[in-house]
């Protein structure tokens, strides 16, 4: 079942607009992730699709039917909540069966569905336990089993993993992904975690400041972000955004915060602009005081790589990822050069498309 949103808008009252002009089509069987910082309206959007929150403007369409006025039940979907929303007085089995019983399914059918669902999330042994006797990950599995047991082909998930610890989150991420593929669910998944978005999504929608910033595949979003917000949101460590100028003498030369010159194979697209450099696209080397253009602040060793924090002579802070272990002392002068790829943003933060693929000679 596909879901189409057309110019969705949400106001809580005259003055507080939460969402504006959200349009997207989610295809059948797609893993669609809505991502954004907290307070960007992503949970509100999900609740509007579910029918739990009234829609102020625009249309929600499931398959060929506009569902704005339909109650949640008639939209034939399931939802998994951040805090699981289990019924504490019911056993695991009854929790999963609850919705099916409410829909008055035949009891043999219920038994089969619940048993299957519990088997799929490997909870068969714990079916008689109460939620309070389960660990966080097990509770989350019960919530997933509820979605699995339902015959609804649309599943909405509202930050389902954010209450779990890091290890468990990776495991559950894989389980959710496998379940979605196996059952062919159309899954809309809300998260603030860019890693979850990148690893699971077919398509990502980035929400920020009431607006859709970009919709695209994970690689599109990473490689061609629509603006500096999207560029900064994806990738760890964060991308470096630095002010830059077109050189007055040569329009092929880019002057980055007056510390670094980069020669392009085409004219610099604007006089004043911002560039984005991923931390692993910088190169850093020891230099004497004369040729250096930055000073090391500190380094973080992560095992396979090292993050070097440095301050350019002009005062901009940057961070650089270097393979393996490198030892820089604090306050050691270094020379920073940019290699290969750059992203260009105008003064408002929108990305500028270059005429040709940028070949950069640092």
């Amino acid at each position: 079942m596909s879901i189409t949103l057309r110019n969705i808008r949400k106001d809580y009252d005259q003055n507080t607009e939460v969402l504006k002009d959200v349009s997207v089509k989610v295809e059948t069987g797609e893993f669609f992730v809505i991502v954004g910082p907290s307070g960007c309206g992503k949970s509100t959007l999900l609740r509007m699709i579910a029918g739990l929150t009234p829609i102020t403007g625009g249309e929600v369409q499931i398959d060929d039917q506009v569902v704005n006025e339909l109650p949640p039940k008639a939209r034939k979907l399931t939802m998994v909540f951040q805090n699981y929303a289990l019924y504490p007085f019911l056993s695991v089995w009854d929790n999963v069966a609850f919705g099916l019983k409410a829909r008055k399914l035949d009891s043999a059918d219920i038994k089969q569905r619940v048993d299957n669902a519990l088997k799929m999330v490997s909870l068969t042994k714990l079916r008689k336990r109460k939620p309070r006797e389960l660990s966080g990950g097990q509770r989350q599995r019960v919530a997933l089993a509820r979605a699995v047991a339902s015959d609804a082909k649309i599943c909405l998930m509202d930050e389902p993993l954010s209450n779990l610890d890091a290890q468990l989150r990776i495991k559950m991420r894989q389980e959710i992904y496998a379940l979605q593929r196996k059952l062919g669910l159309t899954l809309i998944y809300v998260t603030h975690d860019q890693v979850e978005a990148m690893t699971m999504a077919d398509h990502i929608m980035v929400l920020h400041d009431k607006h859709v910033q970009q919709i695209g595949t994970p690689s599109e979003i990473y490689q061609t972000p629509a603006n500096d917000f999207v560029a900064k949101f994806f990738g760890t460590p964060q991308i470096n955004i630095l002010p830059a100028k077109r050189s007055a003498d040569n329009d092929h030369i880019l002057n980055v915060s007056s510390d670094l010159e980069i020669a392009l194979n085409q004219p610099v697209p604007a006089e004043n602009l911002k560039i984005g450099v991923r931390p692993d696209d910088f190169k850093i080397e020891r230099a004497d005081g004369v040729s250096s253009n930055a000073v090391v602040k500190n380094t973080e060793f992560l095992g396979n790589e090292t993050i070097v924090y440095a301050t350019m002579n002009s005062g901009s802070d940057i961070h650089v990822v270097v393979d393996g272990q490198v030892a820089f002392r604090s306050y050691e002068p270094v020379k920073v050069t940019a290699s290969s790829k750059l992203l260009f943003f105008d003064q408002n933060g929108n990305r500028i498309n270059l005429a040709k693929e940028a070949l950069v000679h640092a």
């Binding site: 039940k73 979907l77 289990l86 504490p88 409410a102």
Partner: protein
């Protein structure tokens, strides 16, 4: 390092002495009452409280010579009916105040609460006139109908319902549960502890009523136990104190049962695991 200093021995002893004195003050009358209920009235009248003529004769007399069983039955019926009615009506109105959205909801709730400010004694005269006009005097109804619901119970359950996670309602909406189904299948079981508390509270409240039944009942057929107890004293010229004590002990038993049984349920942690 142990930062908490060990309390001095003299302090501990003083604390315990104080506690023992207070316990004696609180429990004393109760224990004396229980003790005398086993003594023959002759010994009580002579002030011979340390007599060892203990027997269950007073209890046998109470059951055979007084309408105590009738009183107990009346009280039991009135209390159970009041309790059930309050559980149903308070939980329903609390549900409405929490989960239904209607105009002037908060104002109406304020009005509801305002009725709690009026002491029952202030309402007695208008209530009496009302039930008299309805012809309800000296019936069971007169002791049940004015207490079918209570602002306190509604308030208590409303607070309890408010603490339910909003996601439970949302999950129920998605499953397509109507208000009544959500109320019955989720809200009530989820708030079992509050309901038990209110049940115990309203049962004991009805059981221990005295003023209202005294005004509205005139015959042993409807008289509840507290008033019956009083009746035993004045009906006879010679007060059989031993038997009256035995009756009083019998009357207290349900209260104790409710408290002991209740205690088992009033542990926390029953709703753990609904949400993280």
């Amino acid at each position: 390092m142990n930062i908490v200093a060990k309390p001095k021995l003299s302090h501990t002893i003083l604390n315990y002495i104080l506690l023992i004195v207070l316990a004696a003050v609180v429990l004393g009358p109760f224990l004396i009452g229980l003790w005398t209920s086993f003594l023959p009235t002759m010994d009580i009248a002579k002030g011979n409280f340390l007599s060892l003529h203990l027997s269950l004769q007073n209890y046998i007399d109470a059951f055979t010579q007084t309408p105590i069983i009738r009183y107990l039955g009346n009280s039991l019926f009135i209390s159970v009916a009041t309790m059930i009615a309050q559980l149903i009506f308070c939980s329903m109105s609390a549900y409405a105040f929490v989960f239904l959205k209607f105009k002037y909801r908060n104002f109406l709730f304020g009005l509801f609460l305002a009725t709690m400010m009026l002491p029952f004694e202030a309402e007695i005269i208008p209530n009496f006139t009302t039930v008299k006009a309805l012809g309800l005097l000296n019936t069971y109804s007169v002791m049940i109908i004015p207490f079918l619901t209570s602002a306190f119970g509604t308030f208590m359950l409303r607070q309890s319902f408010l603490q339910m996670p909003a996601e439970l309602k949302e999950a129920a909406d998605i499953e397509g549960l109507g208000h009544f189904q959500f109320y019955w299948k989720i809200a009530l079981p989820y708030n079992k502890i509050s309901l038990l508390t209110l049940g115990a509270y309203s049962f004991l409240g009805a059981w221990n009523q005295y003023l209202w039944p005294m005004l509205t009942t005139f015959s042993n057929a409807y008289r509840p136990v507290q008033n019956g107890l009083r009746q035993l004293q004045s009906e006879e010229t010679f007060n059989d104190w031993g038997m009256i004590q035995a009756t009083a002990a019998i009357v207290v038993i349900p209260t104790l049962i409710v408290l002991f049984v209740g205690q088992h349920y009033f542990k926390s942690g029953m709703n753990e695991g609904a949400v993280k």
